[in-house]
């Protein structure tokens, strides 16, 4: 194979990214050995005791292991599904707006919450969902009994999903809007000539064009299914909703950091990454097999 001169420059442009990944992602990988140790900071990696798979076995032995795992997958799956549908629907509706100024304004307003931290939002939601808060005032207006939403195992997972979607749907919609903007307008023009209605255009042109993007995001999302959102849960939960809201990350935080079980925390992190990796490969294969869709 023969390189052309400008191709060399392209490869050089890759270099900073490669170096960055090497320093911040590859080198720290060696730290995962502490997952197999009874790690003590004072002794360091070299002198800490090797304990094999004990950290992993302990995870499965935990009486709460199953609940935590279930919560994580349940909350994460709901977020994944809602996180695909809501921004998609929003992007399509927004795309139908013909007033450009209004469209831009709406887009800006809905993606702003993405930039607020959960520390701030958690306080806002706690206030809104309290017994005297705005939500309960509405409930009372309709003759209902006030509910302590953030103390209720029934409501807590839904609050997590709803608040997460509220925060991010505007931002996620950007990808879809970009994909929609990339569709050749000639397709729509041709469809109009053939007498297709707005709905038909949506069904036969917009949606099929968006399908690869949806598949890509879903595939990537499945790899993160064990990340149910530490920041959010950590800032919103309390002991009353451990049962329905405690996820792997918050549990590991309490065990790993607060109780200084670094080896154990690393073991859980490693396990999460391995499972995520396997899931990504599987879903990617499935996407190829059934939707004939590949990234590479």
């Amino acid at each position: 194979m023969k390189y052309k001169a400008y191709e060399k420059i392209y490869h050089l442009m890759l270099l900073p990214g490669v170096i960055f990944l090497f320093i911040f992602s590859v080198i720290p990988m060696f730290g995962v050995v502490i997952a197999f140790q009874d790690f003590k900071i004072g002794r360091g990696i070299a002198d800490s005791e090797w304990i094999g798979l004990e950290n992993f076995l302990y995870l499965f032995e935990l009486p709460d292991g199953r609940t935590i795992f279930y919560n994580t997958v349940y909350i994460s799956a709901m977020k994944l599904i809602a996180g695909l549908i809501v921004p998609l629907a929003f992007a399509i509706l927004l795309n139908e707006l013909r007033l450009v100024m209004l469209k831009r304004w709406v887009q800006t307003v809905v993606y702003l919450p993405h930039f607020l931290s959960w520390v701030i939002l958690a306080n806002v939601f706690t206030e809104m969902l309290s017994l005297g808060g705005i939500v309960n005032r509405v409930v009372k207006w309709f003759g209902g009994e006030p509910v302590m939403f953030l103390a209720s195992n029934k409501w807590f997972p839904f609050i997590l999903v709803a608040s997460d979607i509220w925060k991010d749907f505007g931002f996620s919609a950007i990808v879809y809007l970009a994909a929609l903007a990339g569709i050749n307008p000639a397709l729509y023009e041709a469809a109009e000539m053939d007498g297709a209605s707005r709905v038909k255009q949506l069904w036969y042109i917009s949606l099929p064009s968006l399908a690869p993007t949806v598949a890509l995001l879903a595939t990537l999302g499945i790899g993160h299914i064990l990340n149910a959102g530490f920041d959010q849960v950590f800032n919103l939960y309390n002991p009353l909703v451990y049962e329905s809201g405690d996820i792997i990350d918050t549990y590991v935080y309490r065990v790993g950091l607060v109780q200084a079980q670094y080896g154990f925390a690393t073991a859980v992190g490693l396990l999460k990454s391995v499972i995520g990796f396997v899931l990504i490969i599987v879903s990617y294969r499935l996407a190829y097999k059934y939707a004939n869709y590949r990234i590479f």
Binding site: I41, G42, P63, T126, A151, P239, R254, L257
Partner: protein, 548 residues
């Protein structure tokens, strides 16, 4: 061979230090510096011979205020310390509350210690075990000021003992004021009088008062908007009397959840699993169901709001609650007349879990060149705090000391509250002259007299003295003092504690809030023992036997 070398090094370096500092001593005589601890070598216990910089992390309360232009790194306290001691502190980062804990533990995890840091007992032990911190034995011998030695003496040597690891002093321990442990029920006396009620003595009185406060509209605004009793989002009983905690109620049932106790036969038992705790939970559950406890206590991020906003007429807190939250409460409503009561158990006894003599440890990173700087700093801090140094009177105490001194912890007489109250009262009654008081008490006396002449005119004067005259006075009652038998961690605890803690707080919250029946407690005890509790008890007994 190695050992001898090390010893020689220590000798050599101390000799050099002594040589450097001896020249300074004569010109810089400091108050309280009457006789140096080690007679043979003269060192200045209040000043470094040359400038020294110490790096630290800082925990700062987000509500703490500074005068314009001042910063965490440069404020009246840091300037004062720099002027006096030649020591400056470099703040690597600062954060608040939980964020601070999180960040400093991350720093510890990556072995990224600052030159000096204050840690709790478990972290201190692990740092000492890991050989990450300096041996301060010699430093203490040579540099501890007479006042510091006097303070440590009031703990019967217990404080220094706690900071000793394998025969070496590895930290400068704090000295907790025992009075800070007692949880008192602060009640609005004017509401009691208005409704014709007697002050509370037992839990039944508390229930009755809470009911009256809710139903009989004590604030007279015609609305049923008052909360009976406040609570916080933690249901345990910590050593210090936290605000809004249920410690006072547990005490009234002779229960000490979260602590290791010795039973009648001398065996170690865990307070949270005992029948007394179940009884206390039953009472809390009953009160919650009757609407006497704040419905949302488990979710409240800042229960002070209820008190400051005039919504609550009762809350549990320490003797010094006059400064927080009552200072702001009285500012909003000067008619409030708050009085503290300690609630008795069924036998009429007043119980309180006490604070370990030391629970905060100032440690110095291994390899830091001037560990003595930290002892000098503490000497100076304590001299300022106790007002032994007249210059310290110029400091504006409205600026939070805990937030803006570079490193801050309590170093005081173990019985400081009643000791100072006695002197203050004697002076106020004219049995003692103002001049006979030490500088710290003169300041307090002046404030008390100003407030007496012009009540509540200056709320800083009011809150400083009100705590002593009311909360401090309540401490004079005979209190059954209960001490934790064990305050460190064991091997199984490291592993299992997060899980057991979760089990406990989840169960307790659910029992109190009525989501689970009271008998869920029995299942909790069984689970707790099975999931590592029994093993931990065994380990603690072994540990205690070893230390005997």
């Amino acid at each position: 061979m190695k050992k001898r070398n090390a010893a020689a090094m220590v000798l050599l370096s101390t000799a050099m230090l002594a040589a450097c500092s001896s020249g300074e001593t004569a010109t810089n005589a400091k108050p309280g510096d009457t006789k140096p601890a080690a007679a043979s070598e003269k060192v200045d216990q209040f000043r470094m011979p040359g400038p020294v910089e110490v790096s630290i992390f800082k925990s700062v309360n987000p509500t703490a205020k500074l005068p314009d232009g001042d910063t965490v790194e440069n404020n009246q306290y840091t300037r004062y310390i720099k002027d006096k001691t030649n020591i400056s502190f470099k703040v690597l980062w600062y954060a608040s509350g939980q964020d601070y804990d999180q960040k400093y533990k991350l720093a510890l995890a990556s072995n990224d210690l600052p030159d000096a840091i204050i840690v709790d007992e478990a972290v201190f032990r692990s740092l000492a075990e890991g050989g990450q911190i300096e041996d301060l034995t010699e430093v203490y011998k040579k540099y501890a000021s007479p006042l510091m030695q006097e303070l440590y003496a009031t703990t019967n040597g217990k404080a220094l003992e706690k900071a000793t690891y394998k025969g070496k002093l590895m930290a400068i321990p704090n000295i907790s004021v025992q009075g800070d442990a007692v949880s008192m029920l602060w009640v609005r006396k004017d509401w009691l009088d208005k409704l014709g009620l007697q002050p509370p003595k037992t839990m039944d009185d508390v229930t009755a008062i809470a009911k009256a406060f809710i139903e009989k509209d004590p604030d007279g605004n015609g609305k049923a908007d008052t909360v009976g009793l406040t609570g916080s989002n933690s249901v345990g009983a910590s050593a210090k009397a936290g605000h809004h905690s249920f410690k006072g109620i547990y005490g009234a049932f002779n229960a000490y959840p979260g602590n290791w106790l010795k039973d009648a036969s001398g065996k170690i038992v865990y307070g949270s699993t005992l029948p007394e705790t179940k009884m206390a939970l039953a009472k809390l559950r009953e009160m919650y169901a009757a609407g006497l406890i704040d419905k949302e206590f488990a979710l409240r991020k800042d229960p002070h709001e209820l008190v400051v906003g005039g919504k609550a007429g009762m809350f549990f807190g320490p003797w010094w609650s006059s400064s927080t939250p009552l200072r702001d409460t009285v500012k909003n409503d000067p008619t409030g007349d708050w009085k503290p009561y300690i609630i008795a158990d069924a036998k009429g006894q007043l119980n309180s879990l006490m604070i370990p003599v030391s629970n905060k440890f100032l440690v110095v990173k291994k390899g830091f060149k001037h560990p003595e700087a930290l002892m000098i700093y503490i000497n100076t801090l304590v001299a300022a705090e106790r007002n032994v140094d007249p210059d310290a009177a110029k400091l504006d105490l409205k600026v939070s000391r805990g937030d803006y001194y570079p490193l801050y912890s309590t170093y005081d007489y173990a019985d400081a509250v009643t000791r100072k109250l006695d002197l203050l009262q004697k002076a106020m009654e004219g049995k003692m002259k103002r001049e006979e008081l030490n500088a710290e008490l003169q300041l307090l006396y002046d404030r008390a007299m100003r407030d007496k002449a012009n009540p509540k005119a200056d709320l800083n004067d009011w809150s400083a003295t009100y705590g002593y005259l009311n909360g401090g006075a309540a401490l004079r009652q005979k209190i059954n003092e209960v001490y934790s038998a064990f305050t460190s961690t064991t091997k199984t605890m490291e592993r299992r504690w997060a899980n057991l803690e979760k089990l406990e707080s989840e169960t307790f919250f659910k029992i109190i809030m009525g989501e689970q029946p009271l008998d869920a407690f029995d299942k909790f005890v069984k689970d707790w023992k099975e999931q590592g509790g029994d093993q931990i008890v065994k380990e603690i007994e072994e540990e205690l036997a070893k230390n005997k």
